[in-house]
């Protein structure tokens, strides 16, 4: 059983379109992070959300943490080809240092 379910698994869109990817769980997380990974490289942290209902913006990317701290979403406005990559959500439970990762959403933005 996957603790963090990400959807969709694959997403292919045209440059300029908007998109949302989701990260869902039946468990509560003390914090949730989004990473982006490119082929042959390790994941790179995009954002951390901690408070239920929190919204953070990073240029064209908007991240939201659910009120109950069980789910999160990532919205990209006017996608660019440089946004192509694997987007991973990862959660931390309680005081644990261990991160639990979802399987990821592979995004392809076509020119």
């Amino acid at each position: 059983t996957q603790l963090l379910e990400q959807s969709p698994q694959f997403l292919s869109i045209q440059e300029g379109e908007n998109l949302t990817v989701y990260c869902n769980s039946s468990s509560v997380f003390s914090s949730l992070q989004w990473y982006r990974q490119e082929p042959g490289e390790g994941p790179v942290l995009l954002v951390t959300v901690v408070t239920g209902g929190e919204v953070k913006k990073l240029k064209r990317l908007t991240f939201q943490f659910g009120d109950a701290r069980k789910d999160s979403s990532l919205h990209i406005t006017a996608a660019q080809t440089g946004d192509t990559g694997l987007y991973l959500c990862a959660g931390r439970q309680g005081g644990s240092e261990k991160l639990v990762f979802g399987k990821g959403t592979k995004l392809t933005v076509n020119p």
Partner: protein, 115 residues
């Protein structure tokens, strides 16, 4: 460089052989993590070090897997008697202890192929 480095970048081995994977964390980072990433799977936690001790090794799949960290710096992940199902990318990450929002910094990984 200033990032996390891992070696080798690729390793091909025969079933039954032992392999050692190395991780050099960012200088000053006290926490070090090992993950495994298989095709179609997310990152699977293996073990975490704080300094030289491992408070959480719950993700090690079997007793064929072991890891150590020396001098609060370099870490080695050893897989004994490798099996084909061990084929994956092994990722190392480091952070300050209780990193919280500062996240983990990942290396590029070691791609292990067991024939």
């Amino acid at each position: 460089g200033a990032g996390v480095s891992q070696s080798p970048s690729n390793k091909v081995t025969e079933k039954g052989k032992d392999v050692e994977l190395r991780c050099d964390p960012i200088s000053g980072h006290t926490a070090l993590y090992w993950y495994r990433q298989s095709l179609g799977q997310g990152l699977e936690f293996l073990i975490y070090f704080q300094g030289n001790s491992a408070p959480d090794k719950s993700g090690l799949p079997s007793d064929r897997f072991s890891a150590e960290r020396t001098g609060g710096s370099v870490s080695t992940l050893t897989i004994q008697r490798t099996q084909q199902e061990d084929s994956a990318v092994y990722l190392c990450a480091s952070s300050f202890y209780l990193a919280g929002g500062r996240g983990q910094f990942f290396g590029p990984g070691t791609r292990l192929t067991v024939l």
